[in-house]
């Protein structure tokens, strides 16, 4: 890595005002012996990294644990009894009804003997690849704050999400693709709109690139709108060249500055992005068998499947963090099954199940699990009590997250919810522990990844967080 590139990275991450990107700061303080040390950390910031790239699958609305991965036989015994709180607890949308058993059959799967309900037949086949956090808790039962919390560690808007923090901490793996990409459900944005992918107070360079998987131009601004006939590809090529000359002359005439230099180089990178990005988004490069395995041939799975496949292509080509959302905001076509678990959960579960299983197999087959982490999560769980007929209300008391891939002890689990799945019983983890664990796998000490904002050293994990070593290999 040449000095000029190093200077460039420093400026590009730091922006105006003399701020330096975390990875550069850390290199100076932790690895001041030289850049060779960085290699020793395998791309990590504070310690050797096991993970270089992440795909996070986020189930919007609050995926029900006791109807998917958290088997609760006790609910069958107590079904129909009014045992819950009698008044509406703070954060519930209504007073809870009677105990509601899961309408789905549970069976044990794989060598790990993990219980999985009948809504996830495909994931059940690859369950030995996963490590489960069975007792995650949220500080809130409300979608908006809970979605912020699982993404940024705070209940309030304005804080950077995990993808932005990782971009800030580790920078990019390639110059040819954006570092942090979000693929929202094509039906709409999640709760808080673009809030869950905000880079908050981090420099805008860490902002997510939001990709519309349905669009012909998935990466916004990659090329000019065709209505501008003067902005042809040929004009672009010549423009990058002329701009470079003009900018160089400007610097020559009245003095150089690293910021000016960074902007000159940013147009060189832009030109490269124009060449590489369209290739990555072209799914016709994949075989029919691959396309079919992700369910692109089926109306039910096509949208989520295509986005999972895009996620794989992105990380394969050097994007560091990809987030794939299942479900838009609102109370329908997502995981917010207030009305009826038996009617509302199966279709949304079916839309993700085959693509997720395919993604796991694909990542593994391509050797990407060597340095890729796959995460499945949601903003909170649901009540063991009925709402309306057989729906379930929001419940931050306990929910499930799983991880698979590099650095993860496959086939394990950590934590346990109580017999109803209402609250955690042991091994409680919050978003802080979950985020700390992901950062840890990437070679980052979550307590040392800080950014001072309005006088506070902000962290993704606020003042909390414990790495869940129990599920790490």
């Amino acid at each position: 890595m040449s000095i000029s590139r190093r200077t460039f990275l420093n400026t590009i991450g730091g922006g105006f005002g003399g701020l330096a990107a975390a990875h550069m700061l850390a290199r100076e303080t932790v690895a001041w012996g030289g850049e060779t040390n960085i290699q020793d950390l395998n791309g990590g910031l504070h310690h050797p990294a096991k993970v270089k790239r992440v795909i996070q699958l986020f189930m919007t609305g609050g995926a029900s644990p006791m109807d998917t991965f958290d088997y609760k036989p006790e609910l069958e015994k107590l079904h129909g009894q009014k045992l819950g709180p009698t008044e509406k607890p703070e954060g519930f949308t209504a007073a809870p009804g009677a105990i509601l058993k899961s309408p789905f059959k549970f069976k044990q799967h794989g060598e790990s003997g993990r219980w999985v309900s009948s809504v996830f037949p495909h994931q059940a086949e690859v369950v030995d690849e996963m490590a489960f956090l069975m007792a995650m808790a949220s500080k809130t039962n409300v979608h908006g704050p809970a979605t912020y919390m699982m993404n940024s560690g705070f209940l309030l808007p304005g804080f950077p999400c995990m993808g932005a923090w990782i971009s800030y901490g580790l920078g990019s793996l390639t110059d040819e693709l954006p570092t942090f990409v979000v693929l929202p459900d094509t039906k709409g944005l999640p709760y808080n709109q673009k809030g869950p992918f905000s880079s908050g107070f981090l420099p805008a360079v860490h902002q997510a690139t939001i990709v519309n998987a349905e669009s012909d131009d998935p990466v916004p601004h990659l090329f000019a709108n065709s209505e501008f006939s003067f902005a042809t590809r040929a004009a672009d090529r010549d423009a990058f060249d002329l701009l470079k000359r003009i900018n160089a002359r400007h610097a020559e005439n009245s003095g150089e500055d690293s910021l000016l230099d960074a902007r000159i180089k940013s147009y060189e990178l832009a030109a490269r992005l124009q060449l590489s990005a369209p290739h990555v988004f072209d799914l016709s490069k994949e075989s029919k068998a691959t396309n079919d395995s992700y369910g692109l041939d089926n109306k039910v799975t096509r949208d989520f499947g295509r986005r999972c496949l895009l996620a794989r292509r992105l990380i394969e080509n050097g994007t560091r963090f990809v987030q794939v959302w299942s479900g838009p905001q609102g109370a329908t076509e997502n995981w917010d099954n207030h009305g009826s678990i038996s009617k509302e959960l199966p279709p949304i579960a079916a839309s993700v199940d085959q693509p997720i299983a395919a993604l796991i197999r694909d990542l593994k087959a391509r050797g990407l699990f060597e340095d890729t982490l796959l995460i499945w999560t949601t903003e909170f769980g649901r009540t063991p009590f009925a709402q309306g007929g057989d729906g379930r209300d929001h419940n931050g008391g306990s929910f499930v997250t799983w991880m698979a891939g590099a650095g993860v002890k496959a086939g394990t689990s950590y934590g346990r919810s109580d017999d109803w799945g209402y609250k955690t019983a042991e091994g409680t983890t919050y978003c802080y522990d979950f985020h700390a664990t992901v950062l840890h796998l990437m070679g980052i000490d979550h307590k040392r990844l800080v950014y001072r904002q309005n006088g506070i050293d902000r962290r993704l994990t606020d003042v909390h967080g414990k790495v869940v070593t129990e599920i790490l290999a």
Binding site: F16, G91, V142, F201, F223
Partner: protein, 1012 residues
């Protein structure tokens, strides 16, 4: 600081000092004992206790920390945890022995006996502990920090040999700056040339480039004061307020929507934005600016046009989803946002860090924090109605009060003397001209739902046979009157009706949902609706009054239950007299939508041509009173008449006033609680242990930071229930002359926007976690000068800074000068300001500059926000916005960026790429970070490309040949002409790709995007 303190206060201070001395840590212990502690006890504390009782874990169960000696010595809610030498009296031992059922630590599992014995042994030996308090606050002198020190004016520095200076001392600022540069022996950059200065000045003050003509005129101005004149001219321009308002709006995280889950538009928020622009342009003095924004209603009640200032309090986000499902949490967090914003914006203080525990680094207690919350416990964020015209506001106030007296319980307070004539005139009229009601002759009458309507001999109508659930009667009737001013509907009993009527419902009731009356002339097929001003009835069923028949709401109606079996009547007063031709017909539409057969059984219609105020149905008490001779009336009866007349008068006057406007501000009508009983008492705010709503402690009283001694930290209010007085007290506390934070805060903020970085580079935090000033004496000098000499005038402060040599220095020079290389390597960050900083255009300036150079900018000021996106219905309350869908040909595209609608949670990607902040949080400074995606955005965004075309067309229209066009393009964009080499490049590129493509390159150039 010299201030006189009353004796009592002095006594209290002595007491406080004494108690501080008493609370000091006892002696830590001998070396031997300390080693025992370090080897045996400290590891036990760390592993068993710290998870719940330490600063590092941010956990202080029961308010107890065990990570310092003072932690256990002071103890938590239950008192000291350890009594040295007395293990049996130490709570810690009781707890770890699990001796007390309510105090068992660690709670899950008892420690092994040998561990407990170690603790007992340690305490018996005197509990040696060398660990210092975790909080870096000096308990003896909590004000021992630069920003909390009393303000005083430092002496001007005496500079050494002037010849050694590179720069001149234009004013005091330069003296302070050069002093430090001289101390380091550094060289400074020279003053920039006029072309650089005019561009920099325009960018700084207006966020726009100067026109080529303005540049030429400035460059050729022989006046040595040309620059000074330019500064004054630019400060006087309204463009200044438009530019600087955004700085303040960022600081207070103002946007036009709620943000969060339900990111709903605030259609009236813009009035606060306009208020800020206007305040800056008229140079509102800073203390007044503080008072207006926190409590304009209290300080300036007569000046209603200041009402939008209260938009300050509601600038931040609103978590509407939580307001519904988790209301208590919501209340505390919403107030947290307001407290955070107020203290950061005005006092650069992070009071919010004391929400869960006393501030870890600054002398701010949890009680202080909740006292600040109590200041804002009286209302919430919502639309606030007001009259911009103070004369209208005054009238509305007067008649609202009159109405409230006339309808309230204390009618004796009515100003009857003032209205004596009005009352006696009315009485004369009603006595001398009694209303003559002429029965109308029904010509046609139809039931919409199958009932049979028949006309009886007395010209009344009766319904019979089918009784539908709901019905609408349409009745056309004629009259011999040539003018009608009032109408009357009688509902009459009849033996054929259930309970004798007058309704058709089984209980004799009826419900008239809506009444509409039209006039229909023979010679016209068009019927015209007649306006009805008011309706009165002789009897109203409770909750079903006659006013409901006019409210346009089909769910409400007039009823007469339980007074069934008797006649009732209602009078409808017309807005305007209606002229009747002989052929005219009155068409009545009587909607009866309630259902259950609540229908009129028998009715009769009348008209009258007399003053509606006389024709009206009088309330019984008034009717009884008016029948009596004035001298025979009781006081009560006279009052009843007066109250009635004044009520009618007030209502009429109020109806005549123009509708009030609204601003999204501090309002009793919250966004999330539309139906509130008014007046409302401020909510009770508790000090929450660890910020937990389930652990409310004592009730907080309104106040601010107790540690500062310029004013009492808890407010002494005459009436705690008067919530405005709470805000006013905080405003006074902030705006006080001796508040050490306020003045430093604002001068530093202004400085930061002129140099790209503040003297203290954390403009919202002057605490121990914030930065320390690079030039503390200059900061203090500026603060005092701004407060005393400039009397809080921002424009004077700008002027002082802009006229300094420091501000006018070059930002860059060619690297050939060795002395400058030395400055560069010694102070690369330019903290000492040996040069000006190179600064990028921010998002608004970039956009507005393109509008200006393309000749398209529309400088219309103010008004509701410009939506530069298309909007469609979303899946929930939040709409979907499409920024790509906006048509840049639309006239509103040319307005300045400050007038854009800023949707908090759905940002404009173009603006965002240039550092427009996420306004979920306060944003005291902008970032500008370079990336390939930013380059692509500036290169390919529709806005930029569209205006490349606009500019190219303008150039082609104004100049005949290509070289002239290119020269003009450079003059507009770079404020200079291209040299021969550049011209050759541009000509070549233009020949290949066209003039618009050249504009695209120039607008993407560093020379355009950066301000030297």
């Amino acid at each position: 600081m010299k201030t006189k303190q009353p004796a009592v206060l002095t006594f209290l201070i002595i007491l406080t000092v004494l108690s501080n001395v008493l609370a000091q840590d006892p002696t830590p212990g001998s070396d031997n004992e300390l080693r025992f502690f370090a080897e045996k006890i400290e590891p036990l504390l760390t592993s068993h206790c710290f998870p719940c009782h330490s600063h590092d874990a941010n956990e202080m169960e029961g308010g107890l920390t065990l990570d310092s000696r003072s932690g256990w010595a002071n103890g938590g809610e239950s008192g000291p945890a350890v009594v040295p030498g007395e293990p049996e009296k130490s709570l810690l031992i009781r707890a770890i022995r699990h001796a007390d059922e309510n105090l068992q630590m660690p709670p899950d599992e008892k420690l092994p006996d040998e561990v407990i014995d170690l603790f007992v042994d340690w305490i018996r030996r005197g509990a040696a502990d060398s660990r210092k308090s975790k909080t870096p606050i000096n308990d003896d002198n909590p004000l021992d920090w630069w920003s909390l020190q009393p303000l005083s004016r430092p002496n001007l520095p005496v500079l050494a040999d002037r010849k050694k200076l590179y720069g001149a001392v234009a004013n005091e600022i330069d003296a302070f700056i050069l002093k430090q540069i001289q101390a380091k022996g550094l060289a400074v950059l020279p003053k920039a040339d006029r072309r650089t200065l005019i561009r920099r000045l325009y960018a700084d003050l207006h966020g726009l480039p100067p026109t080529p003509a303005e540049v030429t005129s400035f460059l050729s101005d022989p006046d040595p004061l040309a620059y000074e004149k330019l500064v004054d001219r630019l400060l006087a321009s309204p463009r200044y307020g438009e530019r600087w308002a955004r700085h303040w709006l960022d600081t207070v995280h103002f946007a036009d929507s709620h943000g969060c889950e339900h990111d709903i538009f605030r259609p009236n928020a813009w009035r606060y934005r306009d208020y800020v622009i206007q305040s800056l342009n008229r140079d509102t003095r800073w203390p007044r600016f503080i008072r207006e924004q926190l409590a304009a209603d209290w300080f300036y009640p007569e000046d209603s046009k200041l009402t939008p200032a209260l938009g300050f309090i509601a600038a931040g986000p609103l978590e509407l989803s939580r307001a519904g499902t988790a209301p208590v949490t919501f209340d505390y967090l919403d107030r947290d946002d307001i407290v955070t914003q107020t203290m950061a914006a005005f006092a650069s203080t992070t009071a919010n860090c004391a929400r869960c525990h006393d501030h870890k680094f600054d002398p701010i207690s949890q009680e202080d924090y909740y006292s600040l919350q109590a200041v804002f416990a009286g209302a919430g964020k919502g639309d606030l109605e007001y009259d911009a015209d103070p004369k209208i506001a005054k009238k509305r106030k007067k008649f609202t009060e009159l109405l409230s007296l006339a309808t309230g319980s204390d009618k004796m307070k009515l100003p009857t003397a003032e209205y004596e004539n009005l009352i006696s005139d009315w009485e004369k009229k009603i006595r001398n001209n009694p209303t003559v009601w002429e029965p109308l002759l029904p010509r046609s009458f139809v039931s919409s739902d199958g009932a049979t309507l028949k006309r009886l001999d007395d010209d009344s109508l009766i319904a019979s046979e089918t009784r539908p659930e709901r019905d609408t009667y349409t009745i056309s009737a004629t009259s011999s009157l040539s003018r009608v001013q009032a109408l009357r509907l009688d509902v009459l009993p009849d033996d054929s009706l259930p309970m004798k009527g007058p309704g058709r419902c089984d209980n004799g009731n009826l419900h008239l949902s809506e009444i509409k009356v039209f006039v229909l002339d023979d010679d016209s097929s068009k019927r015209i609706e007649i306006g009805i001003k008011q309706a009165t009835a002789d009897w109203n069923q409770q909750g079903w009054t006659i006013a409901h028949s006019l409210d346009g709401n089909p769910a409400t109606a007039w009823g007469i239950y339980p007074k069934v079996g008797e006649a009732h009547y209602a009078v409808f007063e017309l807005t305007e007299p209606v002229d009747m031709k002989p052929s005219s017909q009155l068409v009545f539409q009587l909607d009866q939508h309630h259902g259950g057969g609540h229908l009129i059984g028998r009715l009769k219609l009348y008209a009258a041509d007399s003053d509606p105020r006389v024709a009206t149905v009088l309330p019984n008490a008034v009717y009884q009173a008016i029948k009596k001779n004035p001298i025979e009336r009781t006081d009560q009866q006279s009052t009843a008449i007066a109250a009635y007349v004044l009520q009618r008068h007030a209502e009429e006057q109020l109806a005549k006033l123009p509708k009030p406007v609204a601003v999204y501000a501090w309002s009793k009508l919250y966004s999330h609680a539309k139906k509130l009983a008014l007046p409302m008492e401020p909510k009770v705010v508790h000090i929450l242990s660890r910020g937990d709503i389930d652990k409310p402690g004592k009730v907080a009283v309104p106040g601010a930071l107790a540690v500062l001694d310029h004013a009492p930290g808890r407010f002494d209010l005459d009436d705690q229930a008067d919530e405005a007085s709470r805000r006013a007290a905080l405003a006074d506390w902030l705006a006080a002359k001796d508040n050490p934070l306020t003045w430093r805060s604002i001068v530093n903020r202004v400085w930061s926007y002129h140099f790209g970085r503040g003297l203290c580079d954390t403009p919202n935090d002057f605490g121990r976690m914030g930065g320390t000033p690079s030039h503390p004496e200059l900061l203090d000098w500026l603060a005092v000068w701004f407060r005393d000499d400039a009397q809080g005038s921002l424009k004077q402060l700008h002027r002082l800074i802009l006229l300094s040599e420091t501000w006018q220095r070059c930002a860059r020079v060619p690297n050939s000068n060795p002395a400058i290389r030395e400055s560069q390597s010694t102070d690369a960050q330019n903290r000492l300001l040996w040069r000006q900083n190179l600064r990028p255009l921010d998002a608004e300036s970039f956009r507005d500059s393109i509008l200006q150079v393309s000749g398209r900018i529309d400088l219309k000021m103010g008004g509701s926000g410009i939506q530069q996106f298309t909007q469609s219905k979303g899946r929930q309350d939040t709409p979907e916005l499409d920024y790509d869908g906006f048509d840049w040909n639309h006239p509103s595209a040319a307005r300045r960026s400050i007038y854009r609608v800023v949707w908090r949670g759905i940002s404009d990607p173009f603006m965002e790429s240039l550092g427009f902040p996420d306004l979920g949080l306060l944003s005291p400074k902008r970032d500008f970070s370079v990336s390939a995606l930013q380059a692509l955005t500036l290169f390919n965004d529709d806005f930029v490309l569209h205006h490349c075309q606009v500019l190219a067309q303008k150039l082609q229209a104004e100049h005949a040949n290509l070289e002239q066009q290119l020269t003009e393009a450079c003059r507009l964009i770079m404020l200079r002409e291209p040299d021969a080499k550049e011209m050759a490049w541009l000509v070549d590129y233009s020949n290949k790709h066209g003039l618009a493509a050249v504009c695209r390159i120039l607008l993407n150039s560093n020379e355009f995007i950066f301000i030297d």
